[in-house]
């Protein structure tokens, strides 16, 4: 069968099943058939993974694929190709397209384009409110039926507390669907383009107050107390925000959060030359914030690592810092960046890292992925943790090159990205 595959002799890390050993992985008919060492697999295609790591396919629950509307920046096809090159077998596209994904037909469109691209699984979230305007609830139920894995107005934050309260209440009737928030209180954020503080002062750029993030996280968590709806904080960037999330988790509230590579690796200091590749929202913060995020990763407070892959045209990023759009395109090097941020300095071990990129994000969006449990779709990522390479944005499959890591020396090379037993990317 075309979708039968035996991956031999790799170090298999399957955190959900507590597997961390050298073993073989068998995929039959596109689904996992077992992890062990005595498979009789005559005639099955074999990948020798000796010396390499074999994990459930990596999942990124926060990417922007720009289609429909901004296809010159990214399409679902180009984004999908970028995803598998980055080792990701499942991604969640954000609904802030033009028009936004705020109805079932749009959700189906995303799925259709993803099927045609035939690279990675592309899931999508639906908008919380119609047209992402923050006023009227969108058709959450119909989008849910069409396959939306959660709701967010990402790019914008639902400002009106009553609307957010209503969204959380309404979503609770679907039981297990997550409502996600880009946490940014608009009046405090103002027209800020970077973290508010000493750096913004000496650069003469309008600052984005960290309280804008913390205040919305706090507000939403109060609302979650009433509804018990699963609530997810996107790209948390501040020590204060993490503290609030930590307390909510200690109270047993259904709150999760994600952290991006840039908030783990870069600080506001990077903006010193007005390089717009460092313009991102939430903005790059400080060393203290990075330390708080890493501590939270170590303590298990951070549930998922997510790239917030945000492709933009070079011509847009060549504008003045005030005028350039927010965003960093990092899908194709994100995995190596997490290694740099978390494994190399010894913040966490490999099973913890892989869990934050497989079973834990799968749990947030409630998909049956992220493990090698028999019967689960046979998505696998094979990488060599010791191979060093230079990030070269010119080689990206993404349509965009707005990547501040261009030229960085990183470690951890994706060798194979396998979706349902089929090799969708190989480094050779």
């Amino acid at each position: 069968m075309a979708n039968d595959l035996l991956i031999k002799n790799g170090r298999v890390i399957d955190p959900l099943n507590n597997v961390n050993k050298v073993a073989d992985v068998l995929i039959r008919n596109g689904v996992f058939a077992g992890v062990g060492d005595k498979f009789n697999a005559n005639g099955v295609k074999v990948i020798d993974a000796t010396g390499k790591f074999v994990t459930p396919g990596l999942i990124d629950i926060h990417v922007h694929f720009r289609e429909p509307g901004d296809e010159e920046e990214e399409t679902i096809a180009s984004g999908s190709a970028a995803a598998v090159r980055g080792g990701f077998t499942s991604v969640v596209a954000m609904p802030n397209t033009d028009p936004p994904i705020d109805n079932a037909t749009s959700v189906e469109y995303v799925h259709r384009m993803a099927r045609q691209a035939r690279k990675t699984h592309v899931y999508t979230m639906g908008a919380i409110t119609k047209n992402r305007a923050g006023e009227q609830l969108s058709e959450m139920g119909l989008m849910r039926q069409a396959g939306a894995v959660g709701f967010t107005d990402d790019g914008s934050c639902v400002q009106n507390a009553a609307v957010m309260s209503r969204a959380l209440k309404y979503a609770s009737m679907f039981g297990d669907v997550v409502v996600s928030q880009h946490c940014e209180e608009a009046s405090l954020a103002g027209k800020g383009v970077m973290n508010s503080g000493y750096q913004s002062t000496i650069l003469g750029l309008p600052g984005l107050d960290r309280l804008a993030e913390e205040m919305i996280i706090w507000r939403d968590i109060q609302l979650v107390k009433k509804t018990a709806t699963p609530y997810h904080v996107q790209h948390v960037s501040t020590a204060g925000g993490i503290k609030i999330i930590r307390e909510a988790k200690q109270q047993g509230l259904p709150v999760t959060c994600e952290v991006t590579p840039h908030h783990l690796l870069l600080t506001e200091q990077c903006v010193c030359d007005y390089d717009t590749n460092y313009k991102v929202n939430p903005p790059l913060r400080t060393e203290d914030d990075i330390n708080a995020l890493k501590q939270a990763v170590r303590d298990g407070i951070v549930d998922a690592l997510a790239s917030d892959h945000a492709p933009h045209l070079q011509s847009e990023k060549e504008l003045e810092f005030l005028a350039a759009p927010f965003g960093i395109a990092s899908l194709e090097c994100a995995f190596a960046l997490y290694i740099k941020a978390l494994i190399t300095p010894g913040v966490i071990d490999w099973p913890q890292l892989i869990a934050m990129m497989t079973c834990r994000p799968a749990g947030i969006i409630h998909i049956n992925k992220g493990s090698m449990t028999a019967g689960v779709q046979g998505d696998v990522t094979i990488f060599d943790p010791n191979v060093e390479y230079i990030v070269d944005a010119a080689q990206f499959k993404s349509k965009s090159r707005n990547c501040p890591y261009n030229g960085w020396k990183v470690k951890g090379k994706i060798e194979y990205t396998i979706v349902q037993g089929e090799v969708r990317y190989s480094s050779e």
């Binding site: 103002g190 508010s196 503080g197 000493y198 913004s200 002062t201 000496i202 650069l203 003469g204 750029l205 600052g207 107050d209 030359d273 007005y274 011509s315 060549e318 504008l319 003045e320 810092f321 005030l322 005028a323």
Partner: protein
């Protein structure tokens, strides 16, 4: 007073983007160079040849009268050809990006771009992308280096030095590029700078700047050698940082009454244009302590020095140093 030894000192910057990254010696060197140019403006033939054959473009994306005129005169007196390029709208709304505009100008063979722009960092962006010299004539609320240079020049001329002098900068610090450039230049030259204004007009993390902060002009005015009154920029006041003009003037206006608490020889400065009766009463602006018009005069010599130095650096160092 000269601390820079001209025989050993080599100016190496082909751009003047700000004063934050310049050394005290470099700032002194500009001021010394300006002193040499000052007398050209008083001759009957107000011209010298150093920039003959060079083209200077005034690329102004914001309204400006004195700065643009001052740069034009400075360039003219050095025998450069001057082109005015004024766009009231931002590059984005115009449909052509800043870089495209600059590349087009460069294709026409310009040597020095003097840029004013509403976005902090725009001159830096330009300097990375074109080979002409870039001189910042004010970018957003980042820096306005030639204004601070002429402020320092004026103080130095009046008081001999900035070292140990007590200087207050009063008003809208948060949105002021003049304040930022002044802070860098004056503190590097040894002055003790105090920022004065309501907390709502102070930038974030202001305590990390190398300055003192005061919310009371009355408390400190008696100690000052010079006071630099910033213009209240209503166009940047969308969020209403103080309740009324009357209340602002009550606490921070430089009135005749308040001048009685000042030392009799305190220099009164203002980058212009003045909102008479708001940050300063007319009697003070036109009074014996005022050096406001000296600032304007000195601005030409300072800008001549800047244009001359960046142009020389471009010739000597070529593309190596920027």
């Amino acid at each position: 007073m000269k601390t820079a030894d001209k025989t050993n000192f080599q100016w190496t910057h082909k751009h003047l983007l700000g004063l934050k990254d310049l050394s005290a010696q470099e700032i002194e060197f500009i001021l010394d160079t300006a002193k040499g140019f000052e007398q050209i403006s008083t001759r009957s033939i107000k011209k010298a040849p150093p920039l003959r054959g060079k083209v200077v473009v005034n690329l102004f994306f914001e309204d400006s009268t004195r700065t643009r005129t001052s740069f034009s005169l400075a360039a003219n007196r050095l025998s450069a050809d001057v082109v005015e390029f004024t766009m009231k709208t931002s590059s984005v709304s115009k449909g052509e990006t800043l870089l495209d505009t600059a590349r087009n100008l460069e294709a026409m063979g310009i040597d020095i771009v003097v840029i004013r722009h509403n976005a902090g960092g725009a001159p830096k962006l330009l300097s990375r992308s074109i080979s002409a010299c870039v001189v910042n004539a004010g970018d957003g609320y980042n820096e306005h280096p030639t204004q601070a240079l002429l402020d320092c020049y004026t103080i130095r001329k009046q008081l001999g030095t900035l070292k140990g002098k007590k200087i207050a900068i009063v008003g809208d610090i948060a949105h002021s590029r003049v304040a930022r450039s002044n802070i860098w230049a004056m503190t590097k030259l040894g002055a003790e700078v105090t920022l004065v204004g309501p907390p709502t007009l102070m930038p974030s993390a202001v305590d990390k700047l190398p300055v003192k902060i005061s919310y009371s002009l009355d408390d400190i005015i008696g100690e000052l050698d010079a006071i630099n009154m910033l213009r209240i920029q209503f166009e940047r006041m969308a969020n209403n940082p103080f309740p009324s003009v009357r209340e602002y003037s009550h606490y921070f206006g430089l009135t005749v009454d308040r001048m009685k608490k000042a030392r009799p020889d305190m220099l009164v400065m203002h980058p212009g244009p003045i909102n008479r009766g708001l940050e300063m009463e007319s009697e003070v602006a036109d009074g014996p302590n005022s050096v406001i018009l000296d600032q304007v005069t000195n601005g030409i010599a300072v800008r001549m020095a800047v244009l001359y130095l960046v142009s020389q650096a471009n010739q000597i160092v070529g593309q190596v140093k920027s």
